[in-house]
């Protein structure tokens, strides 16, 4: 079960601080999140995804460990 931790806007949208979901890859996790929280639909595209502390700019097909901790953050690029 991957653990997704919601902060800021996502917490407001989901009403939860975190959720545990079964998912092998980020793409599966996102689908499971959209199914569980209709208010999230489409909101996670393009997000920077932190998996166990490492920030991925494009995590779609990243695999998740059973105990992975996942955060969805705003996209980053810098100057």
């Amino acid at each position: 079960m991957a653990k997704v931790i919601f902060t800021g806007g996502l917490r407001a949208l989901t009403g939860d601080e975190s959720v545990e979901l079964e998912a092998a890859r980020v793409v599966d996790l996102v689908a499971a999140l959209y199914a569980r929280y209709p208010a999230l639909a489409g909101k996670l595209e393009g997000a920077t995804v932190a998996i166990d502390g490492t920030l991925h700019h494009d995590a779609r097909f990243q695999t998740l460990r059973p105990a992975s901790e996942v955060h969805f953050l705003a996209p980053l690029a810098g100057g």
Binding site: G53, T54, E69, A74, G78, G79
Partner: protein, 760 residues
């Protein structure tokens, strides 16, 4: 891709960490290097832009007939020549770009939203003719009341820039028409209860002015179009691939038709990550069927290209007697300029990132005003955020009677701590930087009369993103490395160093090239402190494939299995039955390439994770003249974790340059507008960037805490150094005059005013 694990500093490097002469240096010291404005093509026309004389106005009618009839005038475009496009997302990092806004910023449609907003453009046989023709374009404006400050934008009866546009983000959001484009919020713990447990609480508003990146080279482009729809764009940019996709979207063209060749770039600092002239020149070229060159004047750069946000940030900090932070709270208001998209989001993620706050709350607002649309500027949003939080930390240290570095050390994040923006930190070097600052002779040096010493810290994520590289071997054993990242500060040297390190040839024997969008694989922007990290990683991967080729060719020459060939110190060395063979150098193998399978070339591409956070700590001594309020920077030291410095001179250069920009922002630089919203200081005489006589030597300490995500441990270094100076200089001034400053820049009148107010 897999995460290559760093060698943790144990690897012995031959070339990484040395300081070779940069490969493009010769052309840059002799005047040969070609920047944006240096290209001229046969039959080329010159473009000029008519700009709005009003900060806020409805465009009722544009009549170009008189202008079009003028001698030498070959084409005119207005907003009507651009295709209608819908709103929608376009990935552009933290300053999310709506293509409709991008297009409307390039050429106004319906409304002019800032003084200097492009209204029409002319192509003529000379620049003078084009400018004269601009004057003959008749525009009928309905002048509207402009919104020129955050306060005005938030007022109940404020004029609205974008009617019908709703705020997005975290509720509660304003109902109906608003100048607030986005609201973000985040919280942890019970902030109000925690403040009650604090022994010292400090709070204040901290204002920073809109400031410009100030690159010395104005934006410039030359565009050629063909009858089959193809377009060749030459321009000064941080990202040729970004130009390609942004031009395609704003003109609704097939990207396949567009080729972008980056010129040498005369500075960018984030300001050349977007486009202004390219689609205009393309349309003019299509209409006139000739190449069109457009070069901005300095005044146009100031009035109509992206500065960074002016901000108003309130911060509150609660601390225990022993120095431990118990709670922090902030409200951050960011000017986006005329269109949504300030770096407020990044500010909300960086403001509390450097310390462990058991309880915090933050709110951020992205607010439109009738000023130029902001663009990225070096660690976008982070300097403004750090200005507020690092100032209240300094004030808390004063109140506690605690050393400001000790206070920071007590609360600094380290490996395993949960960052305020969510995830846990991997190996980071903040504590090491604080300790290095504390132990630096500068920190212990005595201060003179009217002097004060300030300390400040800064954090930036550093990004990874996509990069490609191609490495090929010439028949003399030299190598060529090609990438798609314009070299803005010595990155060609880093790429060559990387090839030399991996393959084992002298760095002078590697020629690093920057390609155009048709000759190299995709590379994201030169920005986000990513080139040496991410593009460097692609170069490492490509070099490794080249080594595999070299081993295979040696095996062919020796008639043995590849497994019996080792690659060591730039040579193929035989083992296991092949050890009688005399080692073969790259040159030996290259000589026989034709016999052993043809040319040796390899490409690789990566999309690595974010580059490992960069932390910096700055120390500044200022002297303030109590009679005039004039501040002089007497001494300045930058400490920063670079992970591993590939070319230490250019790492130091980034640290010094970022500090200098931050010092300028803190002391002198600001956008000044008159009551109608016209910028009053659109030139270097009055927009006062630091000159050589304003600054002391800037000492640097490069800390190397290897980044576990990179094979050499590299971290991005370019952006972090602009994060600490606003607060660092502010803290120094405040300690020198004994009163807290709340507004940047700290010009002599403001400082004098603070001194007088203290006296009563």
């Amino acid at each position: 891709m897999s995460n290559p694990k760093s060698d943790g500093g144990e690897r012995k490097y031959k070339v990484v960490g040395t300081r070779p002469i940069r490969h493009d240096g010769l052309d840059k010291v002799t005047g040969r290097a070609n920047y944006g404005a240096d290209l001229a093509l046969p039959g080329m026309l010159h473009g000029a832009i008519l700009r709005s004389p009003h900060a806020h106005a409805r465009i009722k009618k544009i009549d170009v007939s008189k202008a079009l009839a003028m001698p030498g005038v070959k084409a005119i475009v207005t907003g009507a020549d651009f295709p209608e496009i819908g709103s929608g997302g376009m990935a552009a990092g933290e300053s999310h770009i709506d293509p409709k806004d991008l297009q409307a910023n390039i050429m106004a449609r319906g409304k002019a939203l800032y003084h200097g907003h492009a209204i029409a453009a002319v192509a003529a046989t000379s620049v003078e003719q084009a400018r004269e023709a601009c004057k003959m374009i008749a525009v009928d404006y309905e002048v509207l009341k402009p919104v020129l400050s955050l306060e005005q934008a938030l007022a109940k009866d404020a004029p609205i820039l974008h009617e019908g546009r709703k705020a997005v983000g975290v509720p509660p959001l304003p109902e109906g028409d608003t100048n607030i484009m986005m609201r973000l919020a985040n919280a942890k713990g019970d902030v109000d209860a925690a403040f009650k447990t604090a022994d010292v609480v400090v709070e204040g508003w901290y204002e920073a002015s809109m400031a410009h990146q100030g690159y010395i080279e104005p934006h410039a482009t030359v565009v050629t179009t063909r009858e089959n729809g193809q377009a060749e764009i030459w321009c000064s940019t941080q990202g040729p691939f970004a130009v390609k996709s942004m031009v395609a979207v704003t003109l609704q063209l097939d990207p396949n038709l567009i080729r972008v060749t980056p010129s040498e770039i005369g500075g960018g600092f984030g300001g050349k990550t977007t486009i202004y002239l390219e689609p205009v020149a393309l349309l003019l070229s299509q209409k006139a069927r000739r190449p069109v060159k457009m070069v901005m004047s300095r005044e146009e750069v100031f009035r109509a290209t992206g500065p960074t946000s002016g901000t108003r940030i309130w911060a509150k900090l609660g601390v225990k007697k022993d120095g431990s932070f118990v709670a922090a709270d902030t409200r951050m208001e960011f000017e986006a300029g005329a269109f949504a998209g300030s770096p407020m989001g990044a500010a909300t993620m960086t403001v509390f990132a450097s310390y462990n706050f058991p309880n915090f709350r933050l709110e951020g607002l992205d607010i439109v005003v009738n000023k130029p649309k902001v663009a990225a500027y070096r660690a976008p949003g982070a300097p403004n955020a750090a200005y507020a939080i690092e100032t209240v930390i300094d004030e808390a240290a004063e109140k506690l009677g605690m050393d400001p570095i000790e206070l920071r050390l007590k609360n600094a994040v380290k490996e395993g701590d949960v960052a305020s923006y969510g995830p846990k930190f991997d190996r980071i070097g903040f504590v090491e930087c604080l300790q290095a600052a504390k132990n630096h002779p500068h920190y212990k040096a005595p201060l003179g009369k009217n002097q004060g010493r300030g300390v400040g810290a800064g954090f930036w994520f550093n990004v990874g993103l996509q990069s490609s590289a191609t490495v090929s071997i010439n028949d003399d054993g030299s190598a060529v490395v090609r990438t798609g990242n314009p070299d803005i500060g010595g990155s060609r040297a880093s790429m060559a160093i990387t090839v030399a390190e991996e393959i084992g040839i002298p760095v002078e024997r590697v020629r690093p090239l920057v390609g155009d969008t048709d000759t190299v694989g995709y590379c994201d922007l030169t920005g986000g402190s990513r080139v040496t990290y991410a593009t460097g990683m692609a170069v490492i991967e490509a070099s490794k494939i080249v080594i595999e080729h070299l081993r295979a060719r040696a095996a062919t020459i020796w008639g043995c299995e590849v497994d019996a060939v080792e690659w060591r110190d730039g040579q193929a060395i035989g083992t296991n039955g092949a050890s009688d063979n005399k080692p073969l150098t790259v040159a030996d193998i290259a000589k026989q390439m034709g016999h052993t399978g043809g040319p040796i070339i390899a490409s690789a591409s990566v999309n690595p994770p974010a580059a490992g956070p960069g932390f910096g700590v700055h120390i500044c001594d200022v002297e303030v003249d109590p009679e005039t309020g004039r501040t002089t920077v007497a001494r300045y030291t930058v400490v920063q974790d670079a992970g591993k410095a590939v070319h230490p001179s250019y790492v130091e250069g980034q640290l010094q340059g970022g500090a200098a920009q931050g010092i300028g922002w803190a002391l002198w630089e600001e956008y000044l507008f008159d009551k109608d919203g016209k910028m009053e200081n659109p030139g270097f005489l009055d927009y006062r960037m630091p000159v050589a006589s304003d600054l002391p030597m800037i000492d640097t300490v490069v800390v190397e805490v290897p980044n576990p995500l990179h094979p050499y441990g590299v971290r991005g270094v370019g952006e972090t150094p602009i994060v600490p100076p606003l607060a660092t200089v502010g803290n120094a001034v405040s300690r020198a005059i004994g009163v807290r400053m709340h507004q940047l820049p700290m010009t002599p009148p403001r400082v004098l005013d603070a001194i007088e107010t203290k006296k009563g």
